[in-house]
Subunit: 330 residues, 2 copies
């Protein structure tokens, strides 16, 4: 690999001058030498060693994003939003997937810390396990103590800048909309109870139903993915309206009903949460709560990159979108 020294030698200048020409500096370099250096670099195909730059400068141009699962469109959208702003800032992105294993999340943050990345973005739900959360928070604190910046999309549990989607209130608003259509017997495909996002959405829905004086929904726990929705849909009993705590689960539920000959929305109404773009062409089209995922990802990164004065927690509202998968009962 050709180094800066090679370039300097070939151009007949000092290392310092070559560095100033090629890798940016406050100092000026004369036109003659500048040209010589540039030509040499070009001829040799020089490319700065970023590891060395990072070491010398004491700060790199990489940020880290930690998601649960890239193939889940929710995280893909979040990551995409963040990556766009990152690209705009000239930053490189390291993406880590944890596959919902909190230990992996901690390990990944540790690695990012070792990489001296400029900022870390944690996307994805916290778990109800306080011990794990505390360990993650400790790792993050150590990172921040060294000048690192952190932001998170999800529950405000880590003591860092946070973009907090209105899981609870969005689900509550959805519940009220559905009740207004005449539904009274609800079931919730609630996902795993220890996953905060799932739990918040479920709780928001349940409490809104209760506040309306309606019978408590039938809550069915299970995995947070398509198959979780599919199997939980088998236990919704006599509910006229089923709320799946995310769109992917709702799609699983639709598939289950279709197979069993249960018509949606004639026999049962189904609603999801997130408004995943890839799923908008689903039939029947899915009633859901829209979250501006890309913006949230982008915003979280902005928070992380901002000069750190005070902590910011930004709440993002969800918008209830009524589509064909629910029908009015009256």
């Amino acid at each position: 690999m050709v180094t800066l020294e090679d370039v300097a030698k070939q151009a007949g200048v000092s290392l310092a001058t070559a560095s100033r020409v090629l890798n940016g500096s406050t100092r000026q370099v004369g036109a003659t030498l500048r040209a010589r250096v540039e030509r040499a670099a070009d001829e040799l195909g020089y490319r700065a060693n970023i590891a060395a730059q990072t070491l010398a400068r004491g700060a790199g141009n990489v940020i880290g994003i930690v998601v649960h699962d890239l193939t889940d469109p929710y995280f893909a959208a979040l990551a995409d939003g963040a990556m766009r702003t990152a690209a705009g800032e000239g930053l490189l992105v390291m993406v880590g997937t944890t596959h919902r294993d909190p230990e992996q999340e901690i390990a990944y943050v540790a690695t990012l810390r070792a990489q001296r990345v400029r900022a870390v973005l944690l996307a994805g739900s916290r778990l109800a396990d306080e011990r794990v959360t505390a360990r993650l928070a400790a790792e993050l604190a150590a990172y921040q103590a060294g000048g690192g910046r952190v932001a998170c999309v999800g529950q405000d549990l880590l003591g860092v800048d946070t973009v907090a989607p209105a899981n609870h209130d969005g689900a509550a608003a959805l519940a009220r909309s559905l009740a207004e259509l005449g539904h009274t017997r609800f079931a919730v495909l609630a996902g795993p109870p220890h996953l905060m996002t799932a739990a918040d959405r479920c709780a928001g829905f349940v409490s809104a139903v209760r506040d309306l004086g309606l019978p408590a929904p039938h809550v069915i726990n299970g995995p947070f993915d398509r198959d979780g929705g599919y199997s939980a849909a088998g236990e919704t009993g006599d509910a006229t309206c089923v709320f799946a705590v995310n769109d992917v689960m709702a799609v699983g539920a639709l598939a289950a009903y279709r197979e069993r000959g249960v018509r949606v929305p004639d026999d049962v109404s189904v609603a999801g949460f997130d408004d995943i773009v890839t799923l908008r062409d689903q039939v029947p089209s899915l009633t859901t709560v829209r979250l501006p995922l890309k913006d949230m990802g982008a915003r979280a990164l902005e928070l992380a990159l901002r000069a750190a004065d005070t902590r910011v927690v930004e709440h993002v509202a969800g918008e209830v979108v009524l589509r064909e998968s629910v029908r009015a009962l009256r």
Copy 2:
């Protein structure tokens, strides 16, 4: 930030010993000192500076993946497959998205080269533009000359290890299956002509139809995404069977037909390509050509990580999957 020197001082040992204990080495360290060092590192919360390690070792533990668009499930699946094997090897992943801009692709490879990443994975279709391809190939060659490893998923055009999906043959097989069902008048939602993946699939389909002695399909070019499929579906004329060169476009076409009251498959049959998991619950379920995307991503990374002796081009067959979106005409 606490450095190795801090740890060594606190433990009362030399830098060398501390390094050997904490960051792995062939050399042994006595139990007493080893314990002292470990305790000191723990107390101080030491975390190795990877930039420095990379510089000193001359090789990092990062790989780069370049995709067009993470929110496209095709690339998400590919990236996920690669990331799983990367995690298994203890490698970190830098993901870059180009949003189909070949200049960005080149720029990103250049940056990865500067990062001295161990390997680069190029996922995503080449463009027909030879000049751009040549520049990318040149950048890759420079990277490889410096010891970098490269693999690519897609067309074998870069002179690097390649996992090549059977775009042409898969589409041809699909055409034969559809013809066997009695279809004779075809249309192809062909995507952009300069995108090799799209072009190959289109060509494979068209040539198979021709070989069967059937009238040439009506080829409609357009964008490679959902909206491209949606609008191209408006021009399929009297075709009884429409092949969209990817599943996402096929879903767009389904939406367009639905809006216009054209029934699928009764009035027109629709087929896609890729067998995207997220789209499997589509109604009607999509006839398509299945590609093992995760495996392909994983395999490509394996190729890249393998000791470089000879170049490997691995062809991956596609499997025709007939589902509800096509019907037999007889």
